[in-house]
Symmetry: C4
């Protein structure tokens, strides 16, 4: 893949700058919704029309994140030398993000957190059943569990792709670990991370106090179909 920064056209440079700004800003949403603590969690965004993506540096405080310290990587997960932020190490989850971008070309954003309730379901290896209409809208069914996998090779990325490929859900709970979400772009993946924690919490609380009422499958199907096509303003990347 082309990782030679000197060959970049002004258009590609502008697009990289836009994604850097978006990815830096979206980390603030993880903080706002209480999905991350300290330096944990990460957002990445694909640079459309290129073989690059932008991701958070490793171990840097959320207060200190800015477009210029986001890190530009190739789809192999290698830092592009000579670019802003390239003197730092990228997120320790970079290999997993890169794997997803290589294998799922429709994915434009990836998010990972250790958000509390999603981690609780993950620690039991239990998928979240679809018992609320907001979850049917957003995820179209249960949020599935992915395999136990440890950092260090492609096994986390593979587990994400194997679980989410062909699945309606944009979120997977990696067993004993936590949620990864994907989206059409970084904003969409962050929305999925926020909604994943929200439904993890609501369904946990619902089931703690007694049996929940199931939603018939055909209702889930129609809610999901409608939400993907109707909600939001015309022209939004993901309405």
């Amino acid at each position: 893949m082309n990782a030679n920064i000197e060959d970049m056209t002004p258009d590609v440079e502008a697009e990289i700058a836009r994604v850097r700004e978006e990815v830096a800003r979206l980390h603030g949403e993880l903080v706002r919704y209480g999905l991350v603590i300290w330096t944990g969690g990460n957002v990445s965004g694909r640079v459309p029309g290129t073989d690059y993506f932008v991701i958070k540096p490793s171990g840097v405080a959320y207060d200190d994140l800015a477009p210029d310290n986001m890190i530009l990587c190739t789809l192999d997960g290698e830092v592009v030398p000579g670019t802003a932020g390239s003197e730092r190490s990228p997120s320790s989850d970079t290999a997993a993000h890169a794997y997803v971008y290589r294998e799922m070309p429709e994915v434009g954003g990836v998010v990972h957190t250790h958000s509390t309730y999603a981690v609780a379901w993950a620690a039991r290896g239990e998928e979240i059943p679809c018992v609320i209409t907001g979850m049917a809208d957003e995820f179209g069914g249960p949020i599935p569990v992915g395999p136990f996998a440890v950092i260090g090779d492609d096994s986390i990325g593979r587990g994400i792709v194997e679980t989410l490929r062909g699945h309606r859900s944009r979120a997977v709970l990696m067993q004993n670990h936590g949620p990864f979400t994907i989206g059409a772009n970084a904003n969409d993946a962050v929305k999925a991370a926020v909604m994943c924690e929200d439904v993890a919490r609501s369904v946990h609380l619902a089931m703690q106090a007694g049996p929940v009422v199931p939603i018939p499958q055909e209702k889930i199907d129609s809610l999901y179909a409608r939400y993907q096509n109707v909600y939001g303003q015309a022209g939004d990347a993901r309405r």
Copy 2:
């Protein structure tokens, strides 16, 4: 109904402007009390003396809400063309709000959220029993459950009206979905949404740890009667 903006008198225009400001501002209360995430949830307010109401646009971030992008609708739920914000789509729950305004002329405000604990009760289809005096004050008894209904026709609006008509409670938990609240005006409906989540949480926690003490019905009745008549400052729309 009259949806011709050119026929509006200056008085009606001033009243619309006032309600736009109030409805935009009140969305901030949903954020402050943690009742909504991302672009979910919506507040509407009837324009007194007219056949209009003002509601949030669909899929717009809370940070971006302002009087001028609130949307003016007729009681049929149609956007009034040529008015501020009318280039956008109104909340996907607009039909339900409109149904309530048509059927319950005493209602001046409607709120919908997916607040966590209220959704948990809704997912079990279980009404919230009135076991705390603050709930007796505000709701005069249990918070009831409304039918399962999906978006797309009048069924959500009908379910709200059938459940709340003649009921003391200004809140209904739509099964598997979440709370809708009504009020004398938008502020009152937002207060009901805030209190609904608060009692949903307190009663959930109370019952998780053992049996609760019932409150005698006559005490609930007298608390409710007193609160409706005495609390707050003389002259408040809803004290």
Copy 3:
């Protein structure tokens, strides 16, 4: 009692101004610690050396509270006419505060909230056992439950006084209602309200997951004795 504002000396006026400022400011602590929503909850403070106390107006938003709209009352719970804020109604819990000030001369501040976990214990009519050392420090034993009592006469005030007189705890959980706390001054009563909710939450969570370890009574006694005498800076009203 002397409620004639024209007879007040400059010293009394200065003291009233100081307590107005303190009581207004302390309401912000209830908000900061999430103990209140909307206009619920109230703080009052006795004006030392007088038969007056200062309390929050009824049904006014927390954002709008300021020294000048706090309300000066006699120990009979009557608003002192002609003083700042006297055009408004005082908190609907004013009679209970007044009763406490009349019966317990050592009390200089009273606080009432519907804080979530304290209300949950109150709804079960269950005292909070003293199983954490921070609770032994602050309350010297369990936080007791007071009787069921409704607003409108002296029964809430009487219930508070009968429960707390001679008790180490500065907090009482009024059954099905919520916590009232007392203190040497308003700041001390607010601290008790904050600590009461904190231990209500911690002990609730501890007991949800299994049996707790009891603390021997003599250890509770020595922790309490030490904290009352040693903690904080010399010269603090309540260290």
Copy 4:
């Protein structure tokens, strides 16, 4: 030990100033993550290359903490006279911090809180099992319980040291009391306090809803080894 301020070199003075600033600032992280209320909790930091450490004053509000009111102590826990802040009493937990610094020379920071979920585990005297990968990364296994000990002599300090010496965990849950954490420096100890509460909450919630999946010991070992060596940016004190 040398507690004569007049013998200090400019280098030592500069180092003390740096640690004062760091310790004052880090208290803000306890507030940000909701680990402390009112004046509870404390952070200390060793002054490298000296026999001093810096700690919070007793009973002072978090809003009022600043480098100049942090207190400089000897490793015996005595305030160094004539230094900034020395007119105040140090934290009531100073003896425990001092004991840890004397006995564990590798420790550069100590933190104590009464954070909610950690206290809940402590009240049951139950260690937190290592069932999430983020906990394996950070703590390398379970978070252990220390003995019941009351303030007033060395018994809290001894309990901390006996539990954590030779243990991978930087956090200990003192029975019926709450967490103490240690670290290479104050920042590292605060991170451990934040992570301790986070895993206490996640594992509590996971276990409330059913059995958790154990992580094989060799996976815990490899996650811990990797995280200690790889995570973060090269050159960080604790990556």
